[in-house]
């Protein structure tokens, strides 16, 4: 405990009051240390932070999302409700951090070019992951200019396959030593609602949507800089609109009907590449697709214009509306289990 540093006010307090209580002092010191460390540990767990990417001046803000229960799905009476959003059911989730904004090209292109891999953090016993960056398979350089002239600096990355998004998470984990993955569909909806039970995080009024989201009506036919509208109650931006976001789940339209009694941390695993679930709607969509409960299946068609065979595993040439954000669960899975989150679609 030699290294245990008490805060300044604690030292003053200790010296003034307990100066002669030699025997009990060591015990007290120990208790304070444990108490204080425990508190700081808890504090770190409950606060948001900026993930620093070494090798470039880039920080990814991560918002702490407390664990809890929520009602997933939507009522039949919700405007725009689609059959796959029901029945509503209770879901319990553990705490996690979620990136405050969608992953932008600034960061995504570093994964594609792999030019900062040499700056990966040295893994030690405090690391959540052991993966070496060299072991992470990389996306190919696309033939088509994938931002389609809509902007790169501060704009969301698009057109990646779910595999590419998953591998990005593995790469980010290798670079930072922390375990990152895509959100599950349930985590995504929980975070999007931010406590709301209405169609949108702010309520039911579609007229309000323009303050929170980029969508067909206000996007000027392109995606916009992330974080330029109002955040939801938990401080997350662009959960509605801008780009739709990949989740980990297989899209099963009837998935909710098996969850009537309520579920803990659901995840629909599946080997099939299509369809996976994307959430949140995009700059191309009408309001109903932006609803917190709205689910959209991915499709092979999103590669229609890829002129190559086999079509790229990494790029959806025809999906300029799809991007993603990352989460970091507070409870870190075992090294073995981590792999499941990073390689649903193996090479």
């Amino acid at each position: 405990m030699e290294s245990c540093q008490l805060p300044h006010f604690m030292n003053t307090f200790k010296n003034a009051t307990f100066v002669n209580m030699v025997n009990s002092r060591a015990f007290f010191h120990l208790s304070l240390c444990v108490l204080f460390h425990g508190m700081s540990f808890l504090k770190a767990q409950q606060s948001s932070y900026n993930e620093k990417i070494y090798g470039v001046e880039f920080e990814l803000p991560m918002v702490y999302v407390k664990g809890g229960d929520f009602v997933m799905g939507s009522k039949k009476t919700e405007v725009g409700h689609f059959g796959d959003e029901g029945p509503q059911h209770g879901v319990a989730l553990n705490a996690f951090w979620m990136s405050q904004v969608e992953i932008t090209w600034d960061l995504y292109n570093l994964f594609v070019s792999r030019e900062i891999d040499q700056y990966q953090i040295k893994k030690d016993e405090t690391s959540e992951v052991s993966v070496d960056v060299d072991a992470v398979s990389g996306a190919t350089t696309p033939y088509v200019e994938m931002s389609f002239g809509m902007g790169v600096d501060g704009y969301p990355a698009i057109c990646m396959t779910q595999l590419a998004a998953v591998k990005f998470c593995e790469w980010l984990s290798a670079m930072t030593g922390k375990f990152y993955r895509l959100p599950t569909e349930a985590e995504w909806e929980y975070a999007a609602r931010a406590g709301s039970t209405a169609a949108y995080c702010f309520g039911e009024e579609v007229s309000e949507l323009t303050h929170y989201a980029w969508y067909a009506e206000n996007s000027n036919e392109k995606y916009q800089k992330v974080g330029s509208k109002k955040p939801n109650a938990w401080g997350l931006y662009d959960m509605h609109g801008n780009v739709a976001e990949w989740t980990l789940d297989q899209y099963i339209p009837t998935a909710y009907s098996k969850r009537k009694k309520g579920v803990d941390s659901p995840l629909e695993t599946g080997e099939k590449i299509y369809p996976k679930v994307v959430r949140g709607g995009s700059w191309m969509d009408n309001p109903k697709r932006l609803r917190s409960a709205a689910r959209r299946p991915s499709s092979k068609k999103w590669k229609k214009r890829d002129p190559q065979i086999p079509k790229s595993k990494w790029w959806h040439t025809d999906a300029p509306f799809v991007g993603f954000r990352v989460v970091r669960p507070v409870k870190v899975p075992s090294i073995e289990d981590q792999k499941k989150y990073w390689s649903y679609e193996t090479d």
């Binding site: 594609v112 299946p297 229609k304």
Partner: protein, 445 residues
Amino acid sequence: MTYKSKNQKEKGQSRRAFVQKTALATSALLTVPMSVEGMAHVHAEKKLKLALVGCGGRGSGAAVQALTADENVELVAMADAFGDRIERSLKGISEHFEGEKVINVQEKNRFVGFDAYKKAIDMADVVILTTPPGFRPYHFEYAINNDKHVFMEKPVATDPVGIRKVLEMAKVAKAKKLNVVVGLQRHYQSKYIDLKQKIDAGAIGKIRSGQVYWNDAGVWVKKRKPGQSELEYQMRNWYYFNWLCGDHILEQHIHNIDVANWFVGEYPESAQGMGGRQVRNGIDHGEIYDHHFVEFTYPSGAVISSQCRHIPGTMSRVDEVFQGTKGSLAIGKGEITDLEGTTQYKYPRKWGEDANPYQVEHDKLFASIRNGGVIADAENGAKSTLSAILGRMTTYTGKKITFEEALNSQLHLMPESLTWDSTPPSVPDANGLYPIPTPGKTKFI
């Protein structure tokens, strides 16, 4: 949220779009405007035999499009310099059709090596030429001399010697009434066809200037592997060697230069430009530049600025815009504005609503073959290829060069004949680096 197979969907869409397009059918470049009635009478009675020459990703994609365009087409032969590329291609094509169509290219009809193309072409009615572009003139020549219809990818050559051959064979193809489609697929893309019609109708007056772009992070690199001969290495990492690729101003940016030629309605009279390799300059990057900026001057006086860059972390843009005497056209936005900047026209269809032009070009090719039509893309393909080669010549030399000079140039990058024992045209020094063209020193040949 129901699922049809991709093939069903693509076929359905391209057919629809085809009808829409033929209903328009007035573009100057669509040399064979076919009526909707004509389409209805297409009977695919005769089996058309298809050969694929150049079995990379793009060639395999083109084969799938050909097999999708017409129900009675059979892939009978494949040729590539490398056997592993053929096997990979065959697997990819078969998997694409997932049992909807049986792909059965017999092993004896999978030809490997530098002269494999002849054997594959011999077996076919229609051939797909998708090797690296340096080989194209020779493959095209053989196909036309043997009376085959052709789909060939852009660019169609890497040097003026090759261009002259393609121009010569383009005439022969026309005389023989053979169909030749070149993969400058913007000519088969509804948006471009629609906007070109507006420009021809005078929507922006006469084009005086324009800017065309292919700026992005660049393409793949294939690192040298132990045991590879210099020739095999260059053939695998072909993008970075001029005899095979012609530099990215040609291999990719040709699309945008070609659109400039198409919309201005002329080929450049002269060009001057600058370029270099600032970032992509390692031992894996052969001899090509990573950026070019060229000013093309047209006979009408129009000046088109062309820029292409392969540098990660820089502004990305692939687009064409033009300024005329009455207004401007921005093709990416699909927008025509007047001189005050007020929108006069907006291309109505949204993202993804247009038919896939890579499919349309094959739909047109096979429909034309069935109807006895003649699509003759080779001449424009050669002249747009030459325009990009001209651009490259100006950035490498730093000189102003005319289109005529480029056309008559004696530059001959592609070896006359190749075996696996041949030495490629450029070889690395002791440090593994290749001679790099230097403005002011590199001579115009």
